[in-house]
């Protein structure tokens, strides 16, 4: 029998659902009971300094030398320097420095900790190959720890099998517009439903992370390839524009090409 199938996801976090959930969220807001933390004494020290162009590192040295402030910062700021004037206490000075260089700050046992907040254009998290490999491997492992069919096309078939398994009473209930709960299904039916749900939920993101995992594993042997976009050129020297590809291997060891840039022309170096 021919059967036209359409599949779809909907309203996972639709605005209606959001409104309903927010009503519940408002009544159990855990933050409501929290008190603002007291300012540590060392941050109340007065700090005055004339406006001067300083790098972030110079400012941390200044604070250490003048007030013996210990500071730890994740990464280095994109902004090279800032002209800042200080006329207040250490707390307001740190607010100023953090704001200028796009950080948030807090203290831990008297040490000032600064983390990037990523409000400024061009600021980005640290991307190191070993750490990204480890992250990707662990994410893939987590996905693989849950049993589901890794082919995202399978969940509609699973629901079809579930539908075929309905008893006449179950089918009639559903066709009459009534709701059947998962808990009302027989064990094999609930198992089929669970598999369909997990496959629908996880089978789409898993290949993304598997692909990245094999890409990162193969990085040392990977390469960029710039191909001439137009074949019209009669010159022996390849002429722009180019398309840029990143060549790696997939999990089966086959060549994998990812387009990084279309139709670009390299910038001529100024003499």
């Amino acid at each position: 029998m021919q059967f036209h199938k359409t599949t779809f996801f909907y309203g996972k976090y639709s605005k209606m659902a959001t409104i309903a959930f927010c009503c519940i969220a408002g009544s159990i807001n855990p933050c409501a009971a929290q008190k603002p933390a007291a300012t540590p004494a060392f941050l109340k020290q007065t700090f005055r300094a004339d406006a001067e162009k300083r790098t972030f590192a110079e400012l941390t040295v200044l604070l250490r030398e003048k007030f013996r402030v210990s500071i730890m910062t994740d990464g280095e700021p994109k902004r090279e320097n800032a002209t800042l004037e200080f006329d207040g206490n250490l707390k307001t000075a740190l607010d100023k420095i953090a704001d200028a260089f796009d950080y948030t700050w807090t203290t831990k046992s008297g040490i000032v900790l600064m983390n990037k907040r990523f409000k400024s254009k061009g600021e980005q998290p640290q991307v190191n190959l070993p750490e990204m490999r480890q992250m990707t491997k662990e994410i893939v492992d987590v996905f693989r720890s849950v049993p589901f069919n890794t082919d995202p096309k399978q969940w509609p078939l699973m629901l079809q099998n579930l539908a075929q398994s309905f008893t006449p009473e179950q089918a009639q209930m559903l066709l009459d517009g009534q709701t059947l709960q998962g808990s009302q299904l027989a064990a094999p039916q609930l198992n089929l439903l669970t598999q369909a749900i997990y496959t629908a939920t996880f089978a789409q993101p898993l290949p993304i992370w598997e692909t990245l995992f094999f890409q990162l594993e193969g990085v040392p042997n990977s390469y960029l390839l710039a191909k001439v976009r137009s074949e019209q050129s009669e010159s022996d020297v390849p002429q722009p524009p180019f398309d840029l590809f990143y060549m790696t291997r997939d999990k089966n060891g086959k060549a994998r090409s990812e387009t990084l840039a279309f139709s670009f022309a390299p910038k001529e170096e100024k003499p």
Binding site: T6, A57, E76, I197, Q204, Y223, E258, E269
Partner: protein, 286 residues
């Protein structure tokens, strides 16, 4: 001679005696080593380094404490700016761990290891999103606006989206997409004309900034393609607990798997569905 004959009660006692005598000595030695590490962690340290990678910081701390302080190999390219003035090594390690959401442990004789928090594999699918979110480094989580509520609060707040989520979804998506685009454009723009001769440009021939842009491009493309909900919340109720899912048929042929939210005033649904052929003729055996 049979083995059972050798193992008479008397022989067994003789065999066990050295082990019994050595055990307290071993425990004492371990205790002594632990207290030595604890003592050395009370050393006041001062570090005046600009922007450095983690091993440079740990080398300085190691020299000042007499301990061997290391980080897991995959963390060793992390950059930090650090200025420490007369704080204990223990305080410094705690702060370093807090800065990155890491932890540290004294492993054995005089050795301290800084490590990322271990993420256990989920025992059930419902735990999968939070496990994935925990694996992502703290700065990337901040970039993607992923918040990790504490264990106590998680069961109350995590499945509940707020109005901010709708804006955040667009904002994070645009920011991630822009980062990928910028990394690719800068990478392409950084290639020299003489390199564009149709020959492969090998990874090892790329500069440090080109490598960073390439990695940024592929890693954040994966994050961009991953569902916002998977990275920012728990599973929807129907997926967290399939027994709670509501099955409904609309139009006689469309089977919906959903969670119905009904607060008395508004009714909304979340879920998925497909067209099926409902026969209802097959007997299901329990």
């Amino acid at each position: 001679m049979k083995f059972s004959r050798i193992l008479t009660g008397q022989n067994l006692l003789l065999l066990m005696l050295p082990a019994c005598l050595l055990l307290p000595v071993t425990v004492l030695a371990q205790d002594k080593a632990k207290s030595q590490v604890a003592e050395r962690l009370q050393t006041k340290v001062s570090v005046t380094l600009g922007t450095v990678t983690l091993p440079a910081v740990l080398d300085t701390l190691s020299k000042q404490t007499g301990l061997t302080i290391e980080a897991e190999p995959f963390l060793r390219e992390r950059k930090v700016v650090i200025q420490l003035d007369g704080v204990t090594a223990r305080t410094a390690l705690d702060a370093l761990a807090e800065l990155h959401d890491w932890t540290w442990r004294d492993m054995d004789a005089n050795r301290v290891l800084i490590m990322r928090r271990r993420v256990r594999l989920p025992a059930e699918a419902a735990a999968l999103p939070r496990r994935i979110q925990s694996i992502i480094p703290k700065d990337i989580r901040t970039f993607l606006e992923i918040s990790l509520p504490s264990d106590d609060l998680r069961r109350y707040v995590s499945p509940i989206p707020t109005f901010d989520r709708i804006d955040a979804k667009d904002r994070v998506s645009q920011r991630t997409f822009a980062l990928v685009g910028e990394a690719r454009n800068l990478l392409a723009a950084s290639l020299k004309p003489e390199n564009l001769d149709g020959e492969p440009i090998r990874w090892k021939a790329l500069s440090a900034s080109q490598k960073e842009r390439l990695l940024t491009s592929v890693v954040f493309a994966a994050l961009w393609h991953t569902s916002f909900d998977l990275l920012h919340s728990d599973l929807p109720p129907y997926a967290a607990n399939p027994a709670s899912a509501s099955l409904q048929v609309e139009g006689g042929t469309t089977l919906h798997i959903r969670t119905i939210v009904n607060d008395g005033k508004t009714r909304s649904t979340m879920g998925f569905g497909t067209q099926v052929n409902i026969l209802g003729g097959t007997e299901v055996k329990p």
